[in-house]
């Protein structure tokens, strides 16, 4: 299994869940499984063309997928994938 960490601002769309697991062996497969399970997430992760939005970063381990093979990056079992959102503050 591989897991993906959902950041706090997006947990509203996963029923509060912060961790999603799937046997998918690529970043794309994992993200597809994630939005198939939590449809409300889709517009927050992908634009209308199906590309990842510019204010979202996806990491495999400590490396940005842009430095790897993008969403085609293969995952070995047990890899941790993270979605990193832009957050501005929690002050107001």
């Amino acid at each position: 299994m591989n897991s993906i960490i959902i950041p706090t601002p997006l947990r509203k769309f996963t029923g509060g869940t912060g961790l999603f697991e799937s046997p998918a062996d690529s970043v794309k497969g994992l993200l597809d499984d994630l939005v198939a399970s939590h449809e409300g997430l889709r517009p927050h992760l992908f634009d209308n063309d199906g590309d990842l939005r510019s204010f979202i970063r996806v990491y495999v381990g400590d490396e940005d997928i842009h430095e790897l093979d993008g969403t085609a990056t293969r995952l070995t079992p047990g890899t941790e994938v993270s979605i990193i959102p832009a957050i501005a503050g929690g002050i107001s």
Binding site: I5, P7, T8, P9, L10, K12, G18, P43, H44, R53, S54, F55, R57, Y59, D62, E63, D64, H66, E67, S82, I84, P85, A86, I87, A88, G89, G90, I91, S92
Partner: protein
């Protein structure tokens, strides 16, 4: 090396001076440093206290705000007696009481594209403790254009991020900046805004302290700063991660094809400026009018579309039907008599009314003008504001 310290300072800073790699030299660098802290709120509170206590010689504070009751949950610089007073001035008084050997300059102003470069140029290091996307991008861009290191932290509910942007490297280049991580901000409304979100009070205490630590490391040159790395902290799970931040070819300031050479309109950039979106007005009722109907025995049906945790803080007798649940509970909303819908300030309820009118044919809905906040102000002062 000339010893710039008085006996009182040497004694005060002795626990720094006896760290072999920090010593008098590190302390001298702190004393000579000029640090600009933008925002004296949740992040700024611990940051300012630690920077002052540590002996950063010249601290600037940018804040235009006044202290409010709901700040005290996390902004530990301030006390009950200072509610209503200037944050920047109160912060200055507090940190000078902590360390009289430093200088503090108050900039009681909102940082804008017009004044940012002039403000930042007076300082060596900038620490961004602001709370909104336009100011985040403004501070980042100004630091890149002015060639200053930007010590960054940001928080949301249980989650915190910290990094050091635009850090000068030995080869003369600068480390990645915020635009490398996020070239552009989320459009408003797509990611929940912070005022909807809240924050656990200790979290800015932790992240603001980390920021102070990084400022001290940047100035003293001791340790490895968070250059090219993003530290993440999840207070809910105690999870921590440190991710790599790489230069981004699409960065409009420092990417392959830079398109931006000056500061821009950041409200517009973040989709917050420009002409307000034309939305169809909805029928409204004021709190006074609603109260009068109730007193005549003609109280309309009242529906509260806030979240349960908001309802728990203050409620005015409506049926709780959170926004997300309305589509599946439409049958509970009558069509044959007046129905008033309310939320906190009237925005969500107006949106729900438009949806019900457009998709379900309602023509009997009224929006409570100003929401429960206006009701509290005009009718029932016993309710708590939030």
């Amino acid at each position: 090396m000339v010893n710039p310290f008085t006996k009182a300072e040497l004694e005060r800073y002795s626990r720094h001076l006896i760290i072999p790699e920090f010593n008098l030299e590190g302390q001298r660098k702190l004393k000579e440093a000029h640090v600009l802290v933008i925002g004296s709120g949740g992040l700024g509170s611990p940051m300012l206290m630690y920077l002052a206590a540590a002996g950063v010689g010249h601290i600037g504070i940018v804040d235009f705000d006044v202290i409010e009751d709901h700040n005290l949950q996390r902004q530990v610089l301030f006390g009950v007696d200072q509610v209503g007073a200037s944050k920047a001035q109160s912060a200055k008084d507090r940190i000078l009481a902590l360390n009289p050997h430093i200088e503090v300059t108050v900039h009681e102003t909102r940082i804008t594209s017009e004044n940012a470069l002039e403000l930042i140029e007076q300082y060596d290091v900038v620490a961004d403790g602001t709370d909104n996307f336009p100011t985040r991008y403004l501070v980042n861009d100004a630091c890149v254009l002015a060639g200053k290191t930007n010590v960054y932290a940001s928080i949301y509910r249980f989650e915190g991020q910290c990094s050091v942007f635009n850090y000068p490297r030995p080869d003369g280049t600068r480390g990645p900046n915020y635009r490398d991580l996020f070239p552009s901000p989320p459009p408003p409304g797509l990611v929940p805004s912070c005022s909807e979100g809240g924050v656990i009070g200790v979290l800015p205490g932790i992240l603001g302290s980390l920021q102070a630590l990084e400022v001290i490391k940047v100035i003293s040159g001791v340790g490895d700063v968070l250059d090219g790395r993003l530290f993440l902290f999840d207070a809910a799970t105690f999870g921590t991660r440190t991710l790599k931040v790489r230069p981004n070819a699409k960065n409009p300031l420092t990417g392959e094809n830079p398109t931006q050479t000056e500061l821009i309109d950041y409200e517009m950039f973040c989709g917050l400026g420009g002409a307000p979106k034309e939305e169809r007005p909805v029928e409204e009722i004021t709190p006074i009018e609603l109260d009068a109907l109730g007193k005549k025995g003609e109280a309309p049906v009242l529906i509260d579309v806030r979240e349960p945790y908001e309802f728990a803080i203050a409620e005015m007798g409506g049926v709780l039907m959170p926004v997300e649940s309305v589509p599946e509970r439409v049958a509970e909303i009558p069509k044959d008599r007046p129905v008033v819908i309310h939320c906190r300030s009237g925005v969500r309820s107006a949106r729900i009314i438009r949806m019900l009118e457009d998709e379900h044919g309602y023509a009997n809905l009224l929006n409570l003008k100003g929401g429960i906040l206006a009701w509290q102000e005009d009718v029932d002062p016993s309710l708590a504001r939030y």
